[in-house]
Amino acid sequence: MNSFDKLYYENYHKVYRVALKMSGNAQNAMDIVQEVFLSLFDKLENGGEIIYPGTWLYKVTVNKCCDGLRKQMRFATLDVAAGNEFHEVTIEKQETRQIIEKALFELHPRERVIMVLYSEGFSYKEISEASGVKFQSVGKTISRILEKLEKKLKGLNNDLY
């Protein structure tokens, strides 16, 4: 297994998760993943060197997702799950979740990037490297986005609170 294959199989799911969370659509996510690894393949083929492949992959994924969203000029349709896939959760919880997902998809792509990376359990340093936000501003940005989401959710559904 060469270095590209190793990187591909090690990082495929991580990249896919971020792409799916960003695009909200499985097919779009797969296309983005393909493009990301194609970029990696080309870079390695042309003798390019990547010191931190993980960070590089996330950065490229995030940029491609943002580019795609900007081109679409509207957010991708929500791939909201059908009810029968979640027997363990109540209808009420599903509704709440759908409201939250709607609010998430109404965020600016750059803000959504932060939330997606945050949900992946990244440290502030990793979020900063992948998103391009200053390290000192990550906490402030997350706090601001959460406040924004809270306001949106209050607006969308008062019963939530």
Partner: protein, 148 residues
């Protein structure tokens, strides 16, 4: 004592505070119920959002085999662009040369023969006499102009 800023609360929840900041927050939370509530509420809301975002990924699926599509080199497009550009420039130059050549073509050989008209008035100066000008082009056509 002033209450903790939302930014610091967030850092505290995410365990991104320095040891000095953590001590400060811990000390404040011991005697500020309002901030305790804020921290707890923010912690719960953060978790709710994280769960919701993670919920978007329902199935990872299997990893498809990577099949690199042989991309057409960017240089090819650059070369093609240069070829198109040069071709267009050549055509433009050809048109320009043709136009210039047409405009700068040798003039026709025209002969002008002027004679005093048949009715000569001796009382008038020569400049006031009727005059006939014959313009003969290179094909031999004669155009007669009468000046009175």
């Amino acid at each position: 004592m002033t209450c903790i800023k939302p930014e610091l609360i967030q850092k505290y929840i995410d365990r991104e505070t320095t040891s000095a900041e953590s001590e400060l927050v811990d000390a404040h939370l011991k005697h500020c119920e309002d901030c305790c509530r804020k921290v707890e509420a923010r912690k719960q809301f953060s978790q709710l959002i994280i769960h919701s975002v993670n919920h978007l990924v329902k199935d990872h699926g299997s990893i498809p085999a990577f099949a690199p599509v042989k991309k057409v080199s960017g240089r090819f497009f650059v070369k093609r662009r240069i070829i198109y550009g040069l071709s267009a420039a050549c055509v433009l130059l050809l048109i320009m040369f043709t136009v210039i050549r047409t405009r700068t073509r040798e003039p026709w050989h025209v002969s002008i023969v002027n004679t005093i008209g048949p009715q000569v008035d001796a009382n008038k100066p020569i400049t006031k006499q009727d005059m006939i000008i014959n313009i003969i082009d290179q094909d031999g056509n004669v155009t007669e102009l009468k000046l009175e």
